[in-house]
């Protein structure tokens, strides 16, 4: 288990930085490669498993500068190739390396609207950092330049500088854009269309804005104040934000376009339909979708017992089914809500887990127990209908198939009983069918995802889409990227 001594990290960084300054930051490749990776300061695992404050504390300026000096400033910039929005990674890192943080964040913001969020939650190890020349040279992807942490550092630094400059908006065009859903896709569209001078209204079903960044991803991983600050910036730019408005029910999409005078609409409603396993006992009391469990805890603040009116199960032994970010978030939230034991059940091996590596290791450090190559077979309950146990089945990796992948196969007769009093199902989300049911002429594929072109154009005139409703459950950065492309197409259409 990694014990991190935050003070030692800082002392080390300060002395390394002295050396770098002495050399005026002029280093040869091998010298840069010899600089040690800067470890992220974190809250102590035994303490943090009982609180909701952020786990990763962020680099200090000294650490950030040292880490940035590890970057080899590659001519071909493979890291940029790996980034879904092609952030100018090499260039912003070169600014941090010499302490020019203002220029670094300015460069980042040309491509990303949510750097403080993405720096924290992007799966860097499968995007930019897997491509990094340094990681490859050192034959260890963990030794790649910590691009995400540097991005986070630059964004956090900007917030500490007091109210940042508001992005400039073009003069009013008199055109109106309706944005449906306030997740990263919708917020990106709102920002870009407003900057182009259009008046923008964001309609959100919940009473708060931010989508999954607010109700799904927990505070200990993404402080809500960060998301709220982004929303506040939009408000100050003049974006109209309407909560408690479920497009399709509160008002049909067509009425917005035909009666309310919107010239374009963007659908960014996410993938909000939890999948269940379809096993016996799934409707017992104490079985939740991760969406429900996390929404109660995060958005409705059920962890503030005695203050929040929303109840949440008080489970002592919790099983979480799944191996993605959602499963990790649910498991770690359960610990923070007082569970003595949290068991994570995943059908494949750790290598296949879709969760960010950092979340997996944080979950382990906090004491989540991993049951790999296991699957839930049925959920058992008592006479009152409350969960009492989970029956699990063991799997092993089978022969490699044509693609060389070894898929798990069930081991007959390997069932065992795990006593638990709550089960959280985190095996993915499908698309919410509401817009499909209430809007004529929109084309969806068999999985319920909206079909649209490269620029987000749907089968309906003036209607664009992006994010999880198009991609299936994906990532914040992809949602934001799609939003930006759609906004560019909307802006082009409206200027015709």
């Amino acid at each position: 288990m990694s014990e991190v001594d935050n003070t030692a990290l800082q002392t080390q960084a300060e002395s390394l930085l002295q050396n770098l300054k002495a050399k005026n930051f002029q280093l040869r490749g091998p010298e840069r490669m010899a600089i040690p990776s800067q470890v992220m300061p974190v809250q102590d695992p035994q303490e943090r498993r009982h609180n909701t404050s952020e786990v990763a504390l962020g680099y200090s300026p000294e650490q950030a500068m040292v880490e940035a000096n590890r970057c080899l400033q590659c001519k071909n910039q493979p890291c940029v190739e790996g980034c879904p929005v092609r952030l100018p990674i090499r260039d912003f890192i070169s600014r941090i390396a010499v302490g020019d943080f203002a220029q670094a964040i300015a460069l980042i913001k040309e491509s990303s609207l949510l750097p403080a969020v993405c720096g924290r939650v992007c799966p860097q190890e499968t995007q930019c950092q897997v491509q990094c020349t340094l990681g490859k040279a050192l034959k260890d992807i963990d030794k790649s330049v910590a691009i995400g942490r540097l991005e986070r550092f630059a964004a956090d630094w900007e917030r500490t500088q007091g109210a940042g400059k508001l992005p400039a908006c073009q003069p009013d065009t008199g055109k109106k854009v309706a944005v449906i859903g306030s997740g990263p896709a919708g917020l990106a569209v709102a920002a870009d269309c407003r900057r182009a001078g259009h008046s923008v209204t964001v309609f959100e079903a919940f009473h708060k804005f931010g989508g999954v960044m607010l109700y799904g991803i927990p505070e200990f991983r993404l402080p809500k104040a960060i998301v709220e600050a982004e929303v506040e910036t939009l408000r100050q730019m003049g974006v109209e934000l309407i909560p408690n408005f479920l497009v399709g029910r509160t008002r049909p999409l067509q009425s917005l376009l035909e009666q309310d005078g919107y010239d374009a609409a963007f659908i960014g409603i996410g993938a909000g339909l939890p999948n269940f396993m379809g096993i016996e006992g799934e409707n017992l009391v104490g079985v939740f979708s991760a969406n429900e469990y996390l929404t109660r805890a995060n958005l409705l603040k059920a962890y503030r017992r005695g203050v929040a009116a929303t109840p949440i199960v008080e489970a002592k032994r919790v099983a979480v089914l799944g191996g993605g970010n959602v499963a990790m978030d649910a498991a770690r939230t359960a610990l923070r809500l007082g569970a003595a034991e949290v068991h994570l059940i995943y059908r494949r091996s750790e290598k296949e887990m879709p969760a960010r590596v950092e979340e997996v290791s944080h979950a382990k450090e906090e004491g989540v127990q991993f049951h790999l190559l296991r699957n839930a077979k049925r959920i058992l309950g008592n006479e009152q209908g409350f969960v009492t146990a989970l029956e699990c089945l063991c799997y092993e990796l089978g022969e490699p198939d044509a693609s060389g992948r070894r898929s798990p196969v069930a081991v007959p007769g390997s069932e065992y009983i795990l006593p638990v009093d709550a089960v959280i199902v985190a095996i993915g989300n499908s698309s919410n069918p509401l817009i499909q049911q209430t809007t004529k002429g929109l084309e969806f594929n068999r999985r319920g995802n909206l079909i649209c072109g490269e620029d987000g154009r749907t089968s309906l005139a003036k209607v664009f889409a992006g994010g999880d409703i198009v991609l299936g459950a994906a990532t914040v950065i992809l949602a934001m990227g799609q939003g930006r492309r759609a906004a560019a197409a909307i802006n082009a259409m409206l200027s015709e």
Partner: protein, 286 residues
């Protein structure tokens, strides 16, 4: 687009624990149809979101009517709010509207506060040209609500109380059974009320091949299909009440499963209630 504040325009106590409120929400009043509901919360940061059926709407005033029993933590606090106060959260109309058509003879059965959501549905069936029999049940006379309103449009109105203090001393299933056996056997039954009542209404009509629609009021969080907290088993399949319902074919609903799921937070609710009462009584002592 501007959304007006969700202000309480009118408040009336219908019985010891049942309240009626009209709430400013022109955008919801304009779209709502019989059978739909809203979610509300009375505190933006720490409130609980609860579903309540829309009992009526007034497009001229731009308001919707809700009728609720002050039983849970949130409904008790809601009942304390005065006219002029604003709700923190109000979203709707949610759920699929009732399928209204002319089919002949419709019997609408309501129990307790279930009479409130039944009201717009019964009225719509009458307006569609059906013969309408209404059976309203409550524990005692004081708990009967909306009797006058129902009298205004029902072809026949049967009141039942457990203690016989008004109408027949009977459970609602008794007149329902008689009706099914009579020459005026209904073509459709609609039952809304406590889950146990709906369950027994279903069992009453089942042998007579009378189709029955029930409206389920499960625990909800978002009301948009995102959490699955509202799920019930209908005909062996899992359904989400907030988006697939709230109305379902009563003959197919697993009421026992639903009743169990409604118990989920009883222990916590009781404790919150006690803590709250305790705080209140301390305040009063001061």
């Amino acid at each position: 687009m501007t959304i007006k504040p969700y202000t309480i325009l009118y408040k009336e106590q219908l019985s010891a624990s049942v309240f009626l409120m009209r709430i400013q929400a022109p955008h919801i009043a304009a779209e709502r149809q019989p059978g739909q509901f809203i979610l509300l919360s009375i505190n933006h940061e720490y409130g609980e979101r609860i579903p309540l059926t829309i009992a009526d709407a007034d497009t001229a005033e731009g308001s919707i009517t809700i009728i609720f029993q002050a039983v849970g933590f949130t409904t008790k606090q809601l009942a304390q709010l005065p006219v002029g106060a604003e709700l923190a959260v109000l979203v709707g109309p949610l759920g699929r509207p009732t399928h209204i058509e002319k089919i002949g003879h419709v019997v609408c059965v309501g129990g307790g506060v279930g009479v409130a959501p039944l009201h717009p549905i019964a009225k719509a069936f009458k307006q569609a040209g059906n013969r309408l029999t209404c059976i309203l049940g409550a524990r005692s006379r004081e708990l009967i609500i909306l009797e006058k309103q129902f009298t205004a449009f029902a072809d026949e109105l049967i009141i039942c109380t457990d203690d016989g203090s008004a109408g027949r001393k009977a459970l609602v299933t008794e007149p329902l059974q008689e009706l099914c056996q009579s020459a005026r056997k209904p073509d459709l039954a609609v039952a809304i009320g406590p889950p146990v009542m709906m369950k027994f209404c279903v069992e009453t009509v089942r042998p007579h091949d009378v189709p029955i629609v029930v409206s389920l009021n499960t625990i909800m969080v978002d009301g948009t299909g995102m959490c699955g907290g509202c799920r019930v088993t209908v005909g062996g399949e899992t359904k989400f009440v907030c988006v697939d319902g709230p109305e379902f074919d009563g003959l197919k609903v697993d009421f026992d499963g639903m009743i169990r799921r409604l118990q989920a937070y009883r222990p916590q609710e009781r404790r919150m209630d006690e803590e709250h009462e305790c705080k209140l009584s301390k305040l009063e002592q001061r």
